[in-house]
C-alpha cells in the first residue's frame, strides 16, 4: 500500500512536469518564424557578399584611376591629404570597418538560422535510451520495458520542449534589440553604394570620374602649352594618356551603374526579410500552421500522460 502511494506520487510529479512543460512548448519557434529566420539568413549573406565585393572594387578602381590621373598631372593628387591621396575619400580604414560590419551581419544571419535549426534531439534520445537501459538492470526498480519506454518518451519530450523554448527566448530577445541596427545598416550600405548620394564610396568614385578627370584634368591638359615647362612630345603623350584614362573612366562608370542592378535588389530583399523577421518574432498572431504544431505537441503530451497512468 505504501509502495503504491509512493509510486503514485512519483508519477504525479512526472505528470505535473509535463503539464508545466506545455506553455514551454507553446513558446517554441513556430514554422513561420523559422522560415522568416531562414529567409533573413539568405538575405544577409547576399547583401554582405554583394556589398563587400562592390565596396572593395570601388576603392580599387579609385586607386587605379587616380594613379593614372597623377601620371598626367602630379598635382591632381595630394599624397599627404586623407581626402585627396591615391584612394581619395575611399580610405582603407573606412573600407575595413565596412567589411567587418558586413561580415558580422552575415555571421548574425547564419548564427540565428543555426540556432533555430540546430537539432540535438538525436543526442538527447540516445542518452535517454542509455539511461533507461541501465536503470532497467537495477532489479530493485522493477522497471518493465513498457514503463521504460514511457519514461524515455517523457524525457525526450521535456528535453526537446526545454531546448525549443530556450531557442525561442534567445531569438525573441536578440532580434527586436538588433532591429534598429538592421535598419541602420541597410541605409548605410544603400547610401554608400549609390553614386547619387553625396558622402559614400560610390559618390567618391563618381566624383573622381566626372569632376576630377572628365572636367578638371581635361582643362589642365587644355592649358598645356609647349615651352612652359613641357615639350610638344610631352603634351602629346599626356593627351594620349588622357584618352586612355577617359576610356578607363567610361568602363568603370558603366560597371558602377551596372552594379546597381545587383545591389538594389539585395538591399530591398534584406530590408524586406529583416522587417518580416521582426514582425514574425514579435507578433502574437497565431496561424493555422502554428495551431497544428501546438495540437501535435499537446497530443504527444496527453499520450505520454495516458501511458504513465496506464503503466503505473
Amino acid at each position: 500500500m505504501h509502495c503504491n502511494h509512493s509510486a503514485r506520487s512519483h508519477w504525479l510529479t512526472a505528470f505535473l512536469l509535463v503539464v508545466l512543460a506545455l506553455p514551454l512548448g507553446a513558446c517554441g519557434l513556430t514554422a513561420r518564424q523559422k522560415d522568416a529566420i531562414s529567409k533573413f539568413a539568405v538575405a544577409t549573406q547576399q547583401l554582405s557578399d554583394v556589398s563587400a565585393a562592390e565596396l572593395t572594387q570601388i576603392r580599387s578602381d579609385t586607386v587605379m584611376l587616380r594613379t593614372e590621373m597623377m601620371a598626367i598631372n602630379p598635382k591632381s593628387v595630394d599624397l599627404t591629404s586623407r581626402a585627396e591621396d591615391l584612394d581619395g575619400p575611399c580610405n582603407l580604414d573606412a573600407l575595413d570597418v565596412r567589411l567587418k560590419a558586413l561580415s558580422a551581419l552575415k555571421s548574425y544571419g547564419s548564427l540565428l538560422n543555426s540556432l533555430a535549426t540546430d537539432d540535438v534531439s538525436a543526442n538527447v534520445s540516445a542518452s535517454a535510451t542509455t539511461i533507461l537501459g541501465n536503470l532497467k538492470q537495477l532489479k530493485s526498480l522493477n522497471l518493465t520495458d513498457d514503463k521504460a519506454q514511457v519514461i524515455g518518451t517523457a524525457i525526450n519530450a521535456l528535453s526537446n520542449l526545454a531546448i525549443e523554448g530556450y531557442k525561442a527566448k534567445t531569438v525573441r530577445k536578440i532580434v527586436p534589440r538588433l532591429n534598429p541596427a538592421m535598419i541602420a545598416i541597410a541605409t548605410l550600405v544603400r547610401d554608400d553604394l549609390d553614386p547619387g548620394v553625396v558622402g559614400g564610396f560610390a559618390s567618391g568614385l563618381n566624383n573622381t570620374i566626372h569632376e576630377k578627370i572628365d572636367d578638371t584634368l581635361v582643362k589642365y591638359v587644355e592649358l598645356l602649352q609647349p615651352g612652359t615647362g613641357s615639350t610638344a612630345e610631352d603634351i602629346s603623350a599626356k593627351k594620349a594618356a588622357l584618352s586612355t584614362l577617359q576610356a578607363d573612366c567610361a568602363r568603370v562608370d558603366s560597371q558602377l551603374k551596372n552594379a546597381q542592378a545587383q545591389i538594389q535588389p539585395a538591399i530591398t530583399n534584406f530590408s524586406s526579410s529583416s522587417s518580416s523577421l521582426m514582425v514574425s518574432v514579435t507578433s502574437t498572431d497565431v496561424s493555422s500552421d502554428d495551431i497544428d504544431a501546438y495540437f501535435v505537441q499537446v497530443t504527444n503530451l496527453v499520450r505520454i500522460y495516458k501511458a504513465i497512468r496506464g503503466s503505473f
Binding site: 560590419a101 542518452s127 538492470q137 554608400d192 553625396v198 576630377k212
Partner: protein, 105 residues
C-alpha cells in the same frame, strides 16, 4: 555653412564649379586663374565626401559592435544547447557506472 546638409553643401559647390566652367568658355585669356579656383572647389568637394565617409564609418562601427555582441550571445546559446545534450550524455555514463556497480554487488 552650419545647419546645411551634406547634399546642400555639395550642390552649392557643384553649382559654383559649373559657373567657373561657363567662365572658362567665356574668358579664354583668364583660364589659369579660373583653373586655380576649380582646383580649390575640387578640393572642397573631396574633403566634404571624405569627412562624410568618416562620419558614416562611426555609424558602421556602432552597428558592428551591436552585431558582435549579438553574435557572441547566439554562439553562447548554441553552446548551452550542446552542453545540455552533453549533460544528458554524462548522466547516461553515470547511470551506466551505477548500474555496473549495483549489478556486481
Amino acid at each position: 555653412m552650419p545647419g546645411q546638409t551634406v547634399s546642400e553643401i555639395a550642390s552649392q559647390l557643384t553649382t559654383a564649379k559649373r559657373r567657373l566652367d561657363d567662365l572658362w568658355d567665356a574668358y579664354p585669356d583668364q583660364r589659369n586663374e579660373i583653373y586655380d579656383k576649380i582646383v580649390r572647389i575640387d578640393s572642397e568637394i573631396e574633403t566634404l565626401i571624405s569627412n562624410t565617409i568618416d562620419e558614416k564609418s562611426k555609424a558602421y562601427q556602432a552597428v558592428l559592435s551591436q552585431l558582435e555582441t549579438a553574435n557572441q550571445e547566439l554562439d553562447a546559446a548554441r553552446t548551452n544547447i550542446r552542453n545540455f545534450a552533453n549533460a544528458m550524455s554524462l548522466i547516461a555514463k553515470v547511470a551506466d557506472t551505477i548500474s555496473s556497480i549495483v549489478t556486481k554487488a
